[in-house]
């Protein structure tokens, strides 16, 4: 398995239960997907099918880490995915799930 030692910020994210914000629409595109937030009016491109799968899987998994595993994302890529998900969290495209 070889899970790399992760800095605090990333470990915290890996343990969080996230989902698409309810005001966000996800529209699949050939190269990934478009996210549009009806409240903030922000528009984000998910530029790879893998990050689309992970974003869609979040709500069905207890943690970010579980979602990454379930989607078969290699450990050496987790850092990049964490940063992408953190960015989506910061821009309110993702939010912490209640309960």
């Amino acid at each position: 398995m070889g899970v790399a030692v992760q800095p605090d910020a990333e470990r915290a994210l890996a343990d969080r239960a996230l989902a698409l914000h309810p005001r966000v629409a996800l529209r699949p595109e050939p190269f990934g997907a478009l996210l549009y937030h009806y409240g903030t009016r922000r528009l984000v491109f998910l530029k790879h099918p893998d990050v689309v799968r992970v974003v869609e899987a979040l709500r069905d998994h207890a943690t970010v880490g579980d979602a990454l595993e379930a989607c078969g994302i290699a450990s050496r890529r987790h850092g990049s995915f964490h940063r992408a998900l953190q960015s989506l969290l910061d821009s309110e495209m993702l939010h912490d799930r209640a309960g």
Binding site: R27, L34, K47
Partner: protein
Amino acid sequence: MTALVEQLKGGLDAPICLTWELTYACNLECVHCLSSSGRRDPDELTTAEAKRVLDELHDLQVFYINIGGGEPMIRRDFFELVEYSIGRGIGVKFSTNGAFIDAGKARRLAAMDYLDIQISVDGADAATNDAVRGSGSYATARRAMDHLRDAGFVERNGPFKISVVVTRHNVDQLDEFKALADSYGAQLRVTRLRPSGRGADSWHALHPTNAQQRLIYEWLLAHGDDVLTGDSFFHLNALGDEHLPGLNLCGAGRVVCLIDPVGDVYACPFVIHDEFRAGNVRDVGGFARVWKQSGLFRELREPQSTGACASCGSYDACQGGCMAAKFFTGLPLDGPDPECVGGEGELALSGVAVDATPRPMADHSKPLRPVPVALGRR
């Protein structure tokens, strides 16, 4: 960033957003009106037809529509259509001169969700504004802004937009426009004057000079984070190494388009002309078929020829400018923009015969009457 822009240039399966001009009727007769509005077209889409288009846009997952005109609030079904759109999950921004936003309407609008409003002004004072938009139009716009403020629109919906078309006569008022927007908690939007619609007649007298273009570029660099432009000034990116915020992308027929009051679909609102008409929503297959399969849009989604601009080092920055600006000044599309910052456009214009520029097929302007300003209309 380059890869994403290239993907957008190739077109998306559905627009991200689009402009929908609901009516050619208007209470104003702005000198530079890009849609030559004034009189309602008798063949306007009915309420039912408009709702069917909204159903299509819902299915395509278009995120929001920019409703304009003419003056969209003139339509009796304006609120019905806005509410239907929102009900179908399509956000609405509408562009208005403000004449029909009284205190009651402002409260109604403030209470709506997924709604944004854009109020048009073209001068920071009545004299400058009314010279282009008509006597009393500045006061009207300000009244609408006051009503929106009093109704708490900004607190509930975020900043409404104040939209300015930049001309030779208002370019020195950019700071004042910004202050005006700030005073309402609104957001300033400045856009480029195109020689479209009635703009064809006044463009030569109204478009910014070369020196003013540099002013605009530098002002936008200084204020870019606060001020919207609709990416309409990317032709100015050739002025320096620093680029204005935006994609440098002509989205026409690729990620956005126009639906006009009679259902004609054009590449964008600045090219209402048969040359850029992709089809009609009343055609078999409706809007979706026009967007996905029209010959015009397929052409626009192909790589565009750099033509005469091929040897210019600035092409990456300016992308050859705006096809509407080129078309209506009689310039070839694969050549310099008429406002090319390198002067290539001016040079090309000198070779264009005065009566060789394309005219709109349909002109919805009201019948000519004496215009009490220096700029007349042909």
